[in-house]
């Protein structure tokens, strides 16, 4: 999921950067005092999750947990993902500082969209919550792959070529993230419902 440096053109980089700035500003503005630790915890989870690699499929993919971050953090996923990606760029050389904006956008924007689409269902009980959580995990990665393909449209492969390659590589991780998100949400709704904004 991390686009490397030196691939993207300036307009793409600037667009990504602008979206990230807006998203991060919104995230920081909406950040309550009580939620800071939650955001930090999920930043740390995201930071480490990308080191867990899933040896299935044609590529070599890692967990992203965008959907889970979206459900729990809402707008807060922007500053969280930005911080984690920045540290990954510095410590592990994943992506890079120049492409930080684009990488943050490809991962955080789908998470945010999933938050807006699926939250009403997450707040309901039973099967609907499970389905919504699975969809959140699944679609956040699917959307991320599509955004990544859009960002890479200007490269040699073109939009369709990249989209096929990226979506095929991430298909297993979509299902795995869906399942992980589903179980985590089911677990949290029992143990810490306030994490999900559920008042029962």
């Amino acid at each position: 999921m991390h686009i490397s440096e030196g691939i993207l053109s300036a307009p793409v980089l600037l667009t990504g950067g602008a979206i990230t700035v807006v998203g991060t500003a919104m995230g920081l503005k909406n950040l309550d005092y009580d939620r800071i630790m939650t955001v930090a915890m999920f930043t740390a989870t995201f930071f480490v999750a990308s080191l867990i690699h899933v040896p299935i499929g044609p590529g070599n993919v890692h967990l992203i947990l965008g959907g889970l971050m979206g459900i729990i953090l809402g707008w807060g996923c922007f500053p969280a993902i930005l911080t984690a990606l920045f540290l990954q760029a510095i410590f592990f050389n994943y992506g890079g500082v120049i492409v930080l904006g684009v990488n943050t956008t490809t991962m955080a924007l789908p998470a945010l969209l999933c938050y807006f689409i699926f939250t009403p269902w997450i707040k309901k009980n039973g099967t609907k919550r499970k389905i919504a959580a699975f969809c959140c995990g699944f679609f956040s990665i699917l959307l991320s792959s599509i955004f990544m393909a859009i960002a890479l449209t200007t490269t040699d492969q073109g939009f369709m070529g990249t989209a096929k390659l990226v979506i095929a590589a991430h298909l297993p991780i979509m299902v795995i993230e869906g399942i992980i998100t589903m179980f985590t949400v089911a677990f949290l709704s029992k143990v810490q419902p306030e994490f999900l904004g559920i008042t029962e």
């Binding site: 991390h2 490397s4 691939i7 930090a40 930043t43 990308s50 867990i52 690699h53 540290l87 040699d156």
Partner: protein, 202 residues
């Protein structure tokens, strides 16, 4: 019932983490070494999986001129003969097509006398040309040097490959802990700022 499903959740989460062994995720890397006049390159995704069908471009570092390009095979390997260039360094760029790109700076070191296969064949041919005399006396000093240099190149190849492979540092446990430390620190700063603001409001 509630307890049971909780246990199942934990077990499943644990299992999913077990299948997914900790590894160093999606980034492509390339490294190059030479054996005689042939430059070998190997491309891998960090995690150890070979990068197949990825484009390798060889560029002159001085001028930025593209010398040649090719695709890696199923085991991520790509070979090319040492190009005729005055640049002391080659920039070998790998692009796996899905947004991953990396490069390797290959320094052209003046190798021992050019040891192409053709030259070796030539020396063997001359050796076979006079079968009546014993081979040991038949080799001139020049030919012997060529042969030995060739053999040495072949033996050094794997060692060069290993050295090149080790130049890339993989994330260590310290890096991970350091990163988490930063995140907690940033959270602390954010909490401090918010608390100051709250104080100002009240």
């Amino acid at each position: 019932m509630k307890m049971q499903s909780r246990i199942v959740t934990i077990i499943l989460l644990f299992c999913s983490l077990c299948i997914a062994q900790p590894c160093f995720a999606h980034k492509v890397r390339i490294f190059a070494w030479n054996e005689g006049d042939i430059i070998h390159t190997e491309a891998k995704f960090s995690g150890g999986k070979a990068a197949q069908n990825a484009t390798v471009t060889v560029i002159e570092s001085d001028t930025g001129k593209e010398l040649l390009r090719g695709k890696t095979d199923t085991s991520g390997l790509f070979q090319f003969p040492l190009p005729d260039t005055k640049s002391p360094e080659l920039n070998i760029v790998i692009n796996s097509g899905d947004g991953h790109k990396n490069n390797w700076r290959y320094e052209i070191t003046p190798t021992s006398p050019p040891t192409t296969a053709a030259r070796l064949q030539q020396s063997v041919n001359t050796a076979q040309g006079k079968p009546e005399t014993s081979i040991s006396t038949n080799f001139s000093e020049q030919q012997l040097t060529t042969l030995m240099a060739n053999m040495l190149e072949a033996k050094l190849g794997p060692i060069r490959r290993q050295l090149a492979e080790q130049q890339e540092r993989e994330p260590s446990f310290q890096d991970i802990l350091g990163g988490i430390g930063y995140i907690i620190g940033l959270a602390g700063i954010a909490a401090y700022m918010k608390s100051k603001k709250n104080e100002g409001d009240s």
